[in-house]
């Protein structure tokens, strides 16, 4: 398939100064508008000429979408806040270090300087069949090229695959789920606030999107309540190249301990399915249990129940099991097992 690289198709560049103006423009160009945050995902699509929107709504001029603000109960992060700012923000580092840690391992420093939290959680999948412009399910077609006997699917889903086996590539998403964050969305009907895990959607619901944003919707902020501030956090990302890569899998957890036992916990993984998965069964199973390798082992087994490997990604099952084990038992105690 001939692809013209590095020459973007012509589009109308719209640069609103407020959320209301952006929403108005998105509504005006319904179906033909592309929302541009940091541009790291967008420019791939545009330069490869896979996506050819008639209008691009650039959010970089909207000040109200930027920055980290303290609220009565936690913090609010504007959707256009850069990942670097999140990594360096003192309150995030002090109380919600899970998020700063997750943001710190996103791609490279240059990308973190430009990439935004809103873009990171809303980015599209990295499945190369899809990104090459092939007419797969996610692109509106009727086949998944990755889920075929010859498909290259080392990075693809082991859980909740439904026709499409692409995975969500966000590093910050599982951290936000573990922190019980709320996503603030501006829709044509007004403001809508959803739990972090409900922002993401699997192919069984919508095979063409990774999140619930519809045409005209705008993610404006992410609110993190103080509920899990200062908890014991764990984040680990496994990738092919430690210097700069998308996750093969990552895990994020927040725990409160009491006398060495897990009082309560939230844990999520990403890279295993088309949406980041909150592991509620694990959270329930480990409540009241000691935070050690044995509990981690049990939790790891529970986490991968129902996993179905593809031709080349069976390694993800022990990988996920071990990540969950380490999130509970700690890196030192919970030794890697195959």
């Amino acid at each position: 398939m001939a692809v013209i690289r590095d020459v973007m198709p012509a589009f109308e560049l719209l640069q609103p100064n407020s959320v209301d103006e952006a929403r108005h423009l998105l509504e005006q160009h319904a179906g033909d508008a592309w929302v541009l945050a940091g541009g790291l995902d967008s420019f791939d699509w545009l330069k490869d000429r896979i996506k050819k929107p008639k209008a691009v709504v650039d959010l970089s001029g909207i000040e109200e979408l930027k920055g980290v603000r303290s609220t009565g109960d936690g913090i609010e992060i504007g959707a256009m806040t850069t990942l670097t700012e999140i990594v360096q923000h003192p309150v995030v580092k002090e109380k919600y270090s899970l998020l700063s840690e997750a943001a710190s391992v996103v791609a490279s420093p240059q990308i973190r300087n430009q990439g935004t939290i809103g873009g990171n959680v809303s980015q599209d999948t990295r499945c190369w069949y899809y990104r090459a412009g092939w007419p797969c399910y996610r692109a509106g077609g009727n086949i998944c090229y990755a889920d075929t006997p010859e498909g290259r699917n080392r990075e693809h889903a082991i859980l909740h695959a439904d026709r499409c086996v692409a995975v969500n590539p966000s590093d910050t998403a599982p951290a936000l789920i573990a922190l019980a964050a709320k996503f603030v969305i501006r829709t044509r009907k007004g403001e809508r606030i959803v739990d972090a895990e409900d922002y993401f959607v699997g192919p069984e619901i919508d095979i063409t999107r990774l999140h619930i944003l519809q045409d005209g919707d705008l993610l404006t902020a992410i609110r993190i309540p103080s509920t899990w501030a200062g908890a014991k956090f764990y984040f680990e990302k496994v990738r092919d190249r430690n210097v700069w890569d998308f996750p093969l899998l990552n895990v994020a957890s927040a725990m409160f301990l009491s006398n060495g036992n897990i009082e309560k916990m939230r844990i999520a993984v990403n890279g295993a399915a088309a949406r980041p998965l909150r592991l509620k069964a694990v959270e329930n199973a480990v409540r009241g249990m000691p935070a050690n390798a044995a509990t981690g082992q049990t939790a790891g087994q529970l986490a991968v129940q129902g996993a179905v490997p593809l031709q080349f990604n069976a390694y993800k099952i022990p990988l996920m099991r071990n990540l969950v084990k380490r999130a509970i038992g700690g890196v030192e105690e919970a030794k890697w097992t195959s």
Partner: protein
Amino acid sequence: MDFLKSPIQWATDPWGKVVPIHIAWFLIWVAAIAGLLFLIVHATYVRYFAKPRQFAAEDDVRATSAIPDRVPRHSLVARVFHWIMALAMLTLLFTAFLPKIGWQFPWVTYHWIAGIVLTASILFHVFHASFWLDFWSIWPDRIDMTDASYRMLRFLGRSAPAPRKFAKYPLENKLYHGVIILAGLSAIITGVFMMFRVRTGILPRNPYLFSDMTWGMMYVLHGLAGVGLIALVTVHIYFAIRPEKLPITKSMVFGWMSRDFYLEEHDPRRWIVGPESSSPNSGRTEA
């Protein structure tokens, strides 16, 4: 304007061939509107323009004297089949098209399970109708065609004999049954093959069973049959709730229709109801 766009969506496959991938989804609305338009036009015609129906010759008194008060029309087995099929068909249509018009839910599993139920019930129906019912009663015969031509001539104001009363099923019923067979079989056969593309645990996944072109045509045919069924089911439900058709609908619930309705609509010589078939569950009387 969506209506001016191609009714088929095309894409370029990895080998550079342009192949169909499925129907354009605006056809959902085309089918729904066509179904609604039909019922508006029909209801208006019946209400304001239709003349009272006239049938040829009076019934033979000897033939009608043995007709019971409750004329058995559908056996219990046939009724159970009909309602299972109806439930499966509605499930298939809702699960197929609601997500396309914005009501999102995990539809695929419900869809193929309903498809299996429909397929099984239709296989049963073919077997049951072939060996236990009057298989030919649902197919048009020469009298139907002759009477249809009479009705058409009279509708156009030309001179023609009055048509006879109906056999067990009016010609419209028989033609509808034929169209449903075409649409239903198209959807079912393509649907069974499409199950090779999803994880069902029943059939082994094999997305390369056919070429991209064949798969594409299969998806298009499945889609066309599906949207066609939107219109057909709309029309079917419309007729089922029309006041003059309610006795027929009730017979699909209770199994029988009244003697009066039978004599008003049906020709006892063409649909023979004798004392031996007084029970709705008795033998070869229906399809």
